[in-house]
């Protein structure tokens, strides 16, 4: 599974994933930080008793942990490749 997602044959998939992540991140940052303290009108994050601040915090933690896991997966892919080479050399 991991090999399928991040093998070099499938670079287009990685590129689209990256694009999606970048657009998602830019949306998030605009939503979160476009607000100035002078603007008093309640925005999306302040509606319903600021519950969306909690949702945003949870989303950030999930994104951070998933990013870390993706980096681990890429390391696993690299190691798989390295062990394949080592095997071929032994043969």
């Amino acid at each position: 599974m991991g090999k399928l997602f991040f093998s070099e044959k499938n670079t287009i998939f990685i590129l689209t994933m990256k694009k999606m992540l970048v657009t998602l991140c830019s949306f998030l940052t605009i939503e979160m930080w476009a607000q100035t303290p002078a603007a008093k009108s309640p925005d999306f994050f302040e509606s319903t008793g600021k519950i969306y601040v909690v949702v945003g915090v949870l989303a950030m933690i999930l994104l951070g942990i998933i990013a870390f896991l993706v980096s681990l997966e890429r390391k696993a892919n690299r190691l798989e490749k390295m062990s394949d080479w080592a095997e071929q050399e032994n043969d």
Partner: protein, 353 residues
């Protein structure tokens, strides 16, 4: 499977923290702040009180009690002025009439609005008092003795003005810092072991893996804190002492990884990185525990514990907060263990070549 029990426990605890932390309701409370609750001395006042999470009904008005509480319990001068009339405007707004007698401002210390209803519970808020040049002499001094207001007890988190629902971040933002501290402590212990036993590369691998997850938690704590600050302090980076010191602490730890990558020789790298890690951890203590105590801050726990004051924590919140801390720490250790295993395999493959 036997040695994986703690991972199952982590998943169960995380589910519990997510479900209980998000679904237990916030208690009813007053949203209007002291500026919006203005009362004039020597006048028949009418205030509109905005409340949170209440379900007031028109016919409930006769059961609702509202009053201005004056004085401090420690001084034993507590008195109340009961509201002369209460009207339900809608399920989250009350119209309260309170007559304040024409007496000096000094005789009305620490004024506080208290509202109690058998259906919607007890709530309170500070009010501001205005002076009056033409006091209404017809209002007699109407102090009454304090009596218990109706209360409702149910499983709920406390209402705090401005924070409102975002008080739930306690289960997601705060454990990141607890987790960072503990995981970095584990990292520094492995660094010390790496210095004592330099022939075994596993200590260095462990120290590095724990440090990287610790820094991940620290970064998550910082960015979640920034989002929270945006909607409670008004701006995501207020140069608050706790934001500054934790950012500096994270930069010191980022330098640990830069330092590691600048060595080609594994033995040297292991030794220098271990020593740097011990110094970095030693720097964490003044940065996160000493300096924040000496400076004023918007962050809770001012002048005391830098995280929050333990007396602030409500008993229902403890029921979720402690499992949350354990769950997030165990998740961090789980992720670190994955990294350690991969790094060890890498080490073995590199040694083969």
């Amino acid at each position: 499977m036997k040695q994986h029990w703690w991972k199952i426990l982590t998943v169960i605890l995380l589910f519990y923290v997510l479900i209980a932390g998000m679904l237990i309701p916030i208690r009813t409370g007053i949203i209007s702040d002291a500026k919006e609750l203005e009362l004039t001395i020597g006048k028949k006042n009418t205030i509109f009180v905005q409340t949170y999470n209440t379900q007031y009904e028109k016919e409930e008005a006769k059961d609702i009690k509202a009053r201005i509480r004056i004085g401090e319990k420690e001084k034993g001068n507590v008195k109340v002025i009961n509201a002369s009339a209460i009207e339900v405007i809608n399920n989250r707004t009350l119209k309260v009439d309170i007559d304040l007698p024409p007496i000096p401002r000094d005789s009305l210390p620490a004024p506080m609005l208290q509202i109690g209803s058998p259906k919607n519970g007890f709530m309170f808020s500070a009010v501001s008092l205005l002076l009056n040049n033409n006091p209404d002499a017809s209002i007699t001094t109407n102090f009454q003795e304090i009596e218990a207001l109706p209360e409702v007890d149910y499983l709920s988190f406390p209402f705090l003005n401005i924070l409102e629902e975002s008080v739930r971040n306690l289960y997601y933002h705060v454990p990141m810092w607890f987790g960072m501290m503990l995981i970095l402590l584990i990292s520094v212990i492995h660094s010390i072991q790496a210095l004592r036993d330099p022939t075994n590369p596993v200590h260095d691998i462990r120290a590095r893996a724990y440090a990287s997850v610790g820094v991940l938690y620290g970064i998550l704590g910082l960015v979640t804190g920034m989002l929270w600050a945006q909607y409670t302090w008004g701006w995501f980076w207020t140069w608050d002492v706790k934001q500054n010191t934790s950012a500096v602490a994270l930069l010191i730890y980022l330098a640990y990884f830069v330092l590691r990558s600048s060595f080609d020789d594994a033995d040297k790298r292991s030794r220098v990185a271990a020593i740097y890690n011990i110094f970095a951890f030693a720097m964490l203590i003044p940065l996160l525990y000493v300096i924040p105590r000496m400076v004023d801050s918007l962050h809770p726990g001012m002048g005391g514990n830098p995280g929050f004051n333990s007396y602030d924590l409500d008993s229902t919140m403890r029921l979720v907060f402690y499992p949350a801390v354990i769950a997030w720490i165990m998740l961090g250790i789980w992720i670190s263990s994955l990294k350690i295993r991969l790094d060890r395999v890498e080490q073995k493959i590199l040694d083969l070549d």
